[in-house]
């Protein structure tokens, strides 16, 4: 994929500033007293420019240790070795970086080569086994780093790539990290995470999305249209018809931005015990670097997860009503098309200026 200069990309910065930042501020406020003792833990795919990290630092969400000046609580994941080093240089003192393919790290499972083996041991390993063991080691490090207060899965690529089916590696990873959020306790006070924020990014490109996955997503949304009168009414009101497969053909981005959150909310509410509040879903277009005159879209969703009390130990099912309510709300609110908003000169100017200031403050800090 062609590299985008994120220091000048105002489309993405709109999402940072008006989507991510308010959600982070609310999370910071919500965890209040705890954050004074334990720094907020932020997991990001910040790319080589690390704009989000420095925006959050500037806004006081991420803080530097008073004594050492280290930026606390920043964890990042990056697949590209070169970008990895640059991020480490920019942040200067991240808590930890995880190098490798995110899905491979998260979904690592032992096989006969790696079972009861460690990468950093006295045992010599071939290059191919070392590669596997490396993922095992990073998997362990990442697992131990959980939970986080803010997870920014600003990943690259489509959620359901061709020929992977609906349970694609990225979705599987997402499920796994939600499980880890559920099971882990904060390292300093050994208390479970009660609330966290999840930013999810996905490319939207029907030509690169697995057909069976699209069909299953269509079926899931159709169920709501068929069984929930309020949802159906909002759907028709918004799109002018009730056929979900038609929406998937005519307006794939809006369809996807409705269907993916549904999957996530269902999983969180019914399997893992998290109540979800969905914020706006942002969409904008990018030129396809490999095909002239072709575009794809990028979706960013903002959601807050709150642990459901006594989950799994109740006879009633409060999630059912909640699920319908959230899904209806998403359908009702629709998506925010960032391309349209940033057409306004004052918005462009303001975003460009803000971005420039963040980059300046980032680079100023690095000067000796």
């Amino acid at each position: 994929m062609a590299h985008i200069d994120f220091t000048k990309d105002i489309l993405k910065h709109y999402v940072r500033r008006y989507g991510w930042l308010p959600a982070c501020q609310q999370q910071k406020h919500a965890i209040g007293k705890r954050s004074k003792r334990i720094p907020l833990r932020y997991f990001t795919f910040c790319a080589a420019e690390a704009i989000d990290v420095f925006m959050l630092e500037r806004e006081g969400i991420l803080q530097r240790d008073e004594q050492t000046g280290r930026l606390e609580g920043v964890f990042f994941c990056e697949e590209n070795e070169e970008a990895f080093g640059r991020i480490a240089d920019l942040i200067g003192s991240p808590e930890q970086g995880f190098l490798g393919d995110f899905a491979k790290i998260v979904l690592f499972e032992d096989d006969e080569d790696t079972r009861e083996q460690e990468l950093y041991s006295d045992e010599p390993h071939s290059e191919s086994v070392r590669k596997k063991l490396r993922y095992k080691d990073v998997h362990r490090c990442l697992r131990e780093a959980f939970p986080f207060d803010i997870i920014n899965l600003d990943v690259c690529g489509v959620m359901f790539p061709l020929r992977t089916g609906v349970i694609a590696p990225l979705l599987k990873s997402l499920i796994r990290i939600l499980e880890w959020q559920t099971q882990s306790a904060f390292p300093l006070n050994n208390r479970p995470c009660e609330q966290f924020v999840l930013f999810l990014t996905s490319h939207i490109d029907p030509d690169r999305t697995d057909e069976s996955a699209i069909q299953q997503l269509v079926n899931r949304v159709s169920e709501n249209v068929d069984t929930n009168a309020e949802f159906r009414s909002i759907f028709i009101n918004r799109f002018g018809y009730s056929e979900v497969d038609r929406l998937a053909t005519d307006n794939f981005p809006e369809f996807f931005c409705l269907a993916l959150p549904k999957v996530m909310i269902h999983l969180a509410l019914f399997r893992l015990g998290w109540d979800v509040t969905y914020g706006p879903v942002y969409v904008y277009s990018r030129d396809d670097a490999y095909h002239e005159n072709r575009q794809y879209q990028i979706m960013h969703s903002v959601s807050v997860y709150r642990r459901i009390r006594d989950f799994g130990r109740r006879l009633d099912e409060p999630g059912a009503g909640q699920y319908a309510r959230i899904v209806t709300q998403i359908a009702n609110e629709g998506v925010v098309w960032v391309d349209d908003i940033v057409q306004q000169p004052e918005v462009r100017r303001e975003l460009a200026q803000d971005l420039r200031r963040i980059v300046e403050s980032r680079d100023r800090f690095r000067k000796p």
Binding site: E81, F84, G85, A88, G92, S93, G97, Y120, R130, V138
Partner: protein, 518 residues
């Protein structure tokens, strides 16, 4: 892309066999030296603390071309052409400090393979290469009988290269090691999980608080080693000394400040995991002695220019002696030799094998010698040690040892002086306490007066409120401590004689107890 063999000359093989660097810091030092030679102004090393599973080294220097890289890989490692003309200077007045390709052997000791990416502004070209050295290189080369082999070159690994698009914003060289060796990672992970601060002054405060940086493990040791070794400015910018706290000839101060200025002029910054390094020397340290007195020190300059066997040897440096208190951490004790501003090895606590036994006084010393010319040929290829038979090394050793004799002489004088001052202070304190006690017991302000005019060795003059001690009395013991003790007993006795007989004994013992506890 295709894999090509990395070959080195047989003379290099022997050094590989010997293990070219003793530590990770030593290996990284050579990469930093290469960056310095490439006119970089910033070198950034990252280790992914606390995982230590990826080490990167980026510099913004001139980069290297694919052709040059290939030439180095094909037998150019360790060749001396880079520094053939020893007077060559680079931009910003920098001397050449590195040796071609040696950094590659160094980094290979901490990883199985690594990637090199270089964007070369002069030719607007770029390439990336993967370098893979043999896993059991040392064992393999041990099997080679270098003396008997006719081969001039020896294969030590493989590399593959490809040209990539030149990007001016990425000018420089980037080395990425993501397949780290087990020994390196395990040692570093065993270190206590203490993150580096982001200010070097904080780093220094922390290491000064410990007897040894070893307490923080290999990671902190590596950082200190790099800070010590690299051609970067001192923490205070000016010099290692707070001049108002150290005794030194004024002409040396001027000269040394000039040297410190040249380090600043290089405009070279080395950053490790967000910490911008400085030379860690700052004396005196701590600023207050354990006894509460201000810490002071003395600087003994070395400023020498001689010819040894017709070749010039020019030295500028110092041995700093801290007044009666050890320098901490111990890693800063000893003597550090810098050739072209780069440290050769670590601080040598033996001061180039000084033959005399001086005990703990060695702990008060820290020195640096900048070799401005000469000694280059005495350097072993690991750039970490010297050929001790080389005439330049011998001359350096003699200079240092001769200076050390002066240093230890002065140290002895200092000990005597401090002992004298300490004794005087103690005596003054006890006298003050004695006066106070006398005033409490007898009322009013009594003075202790040394005289030769009393008949008895000690008399209490209640009229003029004086305790008269006849210092010439032959009854006093000659040894000072016994004499003082006897005088205290006498004072207790004379004062107890002033009260009615029935109370005397009790008073005497009470007073004696009080006086002996002063």
């Amino acid at each position: 892309m295709a894999w090509e063999d990395i070959v080195v000359s047989s003379k290099i093989v022997g050094h590989v066999s010997a293990g070219i660097y003793r530590s990770a810091g030593g290996a990284l030092k050579e990469l930093v030296s290469n960056a310095f030679d490439a006119n970089a102004t910033r070198v950034v090393v990252t280790t992914n603390w606390p995982s230590f599973d990826i080490v990167t080294c980026y510099d913004n220097g001139a980069g290297i071309t694919l052709q040059e890289f290939r030439r180095v890989m094909k037998g150019g490692i360790g060749e001396s052409s880079k520094r053939a003309d020893t007077d060559v200077t680079l931009e910003l007045g920098r001397p050449i400090i590195g040796v071609l390709g040696i950094g590659i052997l160094g980094i290979a000791q901490v990883c199985h393979e690594f990637k090199v990416i270089s964007h070369h502004p002069e030719t607007s070209t770029a390439f990336q290469a993967i370098v893979r050295l043999m896993d059991y290189l040392r064992e393999k080369v041990d099997d080679v009988d270098i003396a008997r082999t006719d081969d001039k070159e020896f294969e030590i690994g493989q590399f593959e290269v490809e040209e990539i698009k030149y990007d001016p914003s990425q000018a420089g060289t980037y080395i990425i090691a993501a397949d780290m060796r087990s020994a390196f990672v395990r040692k570093f992970r065993e270190s206590p999980e203490v993150p580096l601060p982001s200010k070097f002054s904080s780093f220094l405060d922390i290491i000064h608080s410990k007897r040894s940086v070893k307490e923080f493990g290999d990671y902190w040791q590596m950082v200190l080693e790099l800070a010590t070794a690299c051609p970067i400015p001192y923490i205070t910018d000016q010099s290692p000394f707070q001049w108002d706290r150290v005794k030194t000839p004024p002409e040396f101060r001027k000269k040394f400040e000039g040297l410190a200025q040249s380090l600043r002029d290089y405009q070279f910054e080395v950053v490790v995991d967000g910490l911008s390094l400085r030379k860690p020397n700052s004396y005196p340290h701590p600023l207050v002695r354990r006894d509460g007195e201000p810490m002071r020190g003395q600087v003994f300059p070395i400023d020498k220019e001689v010819k040894v066997y017709g070749r010039p040897l020019k030295l500028l440096g110092y041995i700093y002696m801290q007044n009666g208190q050890a320098i901490e951490p111990i890693e800063l004790r000893g003597l550090l030799i810098r050739i072209r501003n780069v440290a050769v090895g670590a601080y040598d606590p033996t001061f180039l094998k000084y033959p005399n036994i001086e005990g703990p006084r060695f702990n008060w010393l820290s020195g640096e010698i900048y070799v401005e010319s000469g000694l280059e040929h005495a350097l072993n290829i690991d750039r970490d040690s010297f050929n001790e038979m080389h005439p330049h090394f011998v001359a350096l050793q003699q200079s240092v040892h001769s200076l050390l004799q002066e240093v230890f002489l002065e140290a002895g004088r200092g000990v005597e002086e401090r002992s004298r001052v300490r004794q005087k202070n103690e005596r003054d304190r006890r006298l003050g306490a004695l006066r106070h006690l006398l005033s409490q017991e007898l009322g009013g302000n009594y003075q202790l007066v040394e005289t030769e005019e009393t008949q008895l060795p000690l008399e209490v003059d209640t009229k003029y409120r004086r305790v008269l001690i006849n210092t010439q009395s032959t009854l006093w013991p000659r040894a000072r401590n016994k004499r003082e003790l006897a005088q205290l007993v006498a004072i207790a006795f004379e004062i107890s004689m002033l009260v009615p007989e029935s109370e005397r004994r009790e008073r005497f013992y009470k007073l004696l107890s009080q006086l002996l506890n002063l």
